[in-house]
Symmetry: C2
Subunit: 180 residues, 2 copies
């Protein structure tokens, strides 16, 4: 889910060093200087922003093949925390190297930009879906985009994607089962 695709970053991160993170460990924190770009190889990580009012917002749920905090490529400082959800392995590439490669390899820059554009599309769509007041509409719109309900055991992830509580999603699902 949140299937922002592959994006072939192999050549970009081909020789990048690997680093492992333990569950709950921070990949970086808000305020840290940005020294490298991070591509998740395995596991999941969340980008968390604290609003100061006790609100905790998850800006990105990154999985394998995704780059964390893409905008950090143009920022000297992180604006959010990144924490590992379970054990993670990540490819770490110096930001300077990253940007030099984009500058010298137009096809890599194109792939990178294409990935960003699709991420924009996906995020805008998610925002629209979450502005629908009824759970039925959110699920309907989400499924209409080609998304599929995952196996049992991962339904809560869908609830998080839709921005509703698990109970609300469970009820909607059983409602649909009853109606066919």
């Amino acid at each position: 889910m949140i299937a922002i695709m592959s994006g072939n970053f192999e050549r970009l991160f081909a020789d990048a060093g690997l680093r492992d993170f333990a569950p709950g460990e921070a990949l970086f924190r808000a305020g840290d200087a940005v020294v490298s770009m991070i591509l998740l190889r395995s596991g999941h990580a969340e980008l968390v922003r604290h609003t100061g009012h006790g609100l905790r917002m998850i800006l990105q749920r990154a999985g394998p093949g995704q780059v964390l905090a893409e905008a950090s490529a143009w920022s000297d400082v992180y604006h959010c925390d990144a924490v590992a959800r379970g054990p993670c392995r990540a490819a770490v590439l110096s930001r300077r190297t990253f940007r030099m490669r984009l500058k010298s390899a137009p096809d890599l820059a194109d792939t990178w930009a294409k990935n960003l554009a699709q991420a924009v599309q996906a995020a805008r769509l998610r925002a629209e879906i979450r502005s629908l007041p009824r759970v039925a509409d959110r699920l309907g719109a989400w499924l209409a985009e080609g998304n599929r309900l995952p196996d049992k055991g991962r339904w809560q992830e869908v609830a998080a994607e839709l921005g509703v509580t698990r109970e609300a999603l469970y009820r909607e699902l059983s409602r649909r089962r009853r109606a066919g």
Copy 2:
């Protein structure tokens, strides 16, 4: 508002042809072949997606300085409609030229990618804000991001940005006035 900033596309669209659109006119429609990239010079336009279930989702509210449907640069066909909200003037640049320029001018590609990355950030944040159940929290989070309440007469735009009805926003505002 929705202030995704400048992004200096002047050089990219410097010699692009200008075209005017009447209120309600379509800049393009879903299914149309993508032949050019469009930069809004003045006026506002909305990207609308119809889900087939009668749901009408506004994926992007574009203003001056913004490029419409960034992902169309890599797609042969539009996936949504774009309609002018009021009179619009837009710079229109052949998609082939657009991509050639990005390929041959690394600094332009960098600017383009930076703009996309910031759009991703903004869209993700908007999605998070809209997943908050209470209007008070949405407004609070939105203001905490440095956004300011516009002049009277434009408050409905804020309601749309937050994904709530105008009434709900008005009530929250008067609640805050009473509380200070």
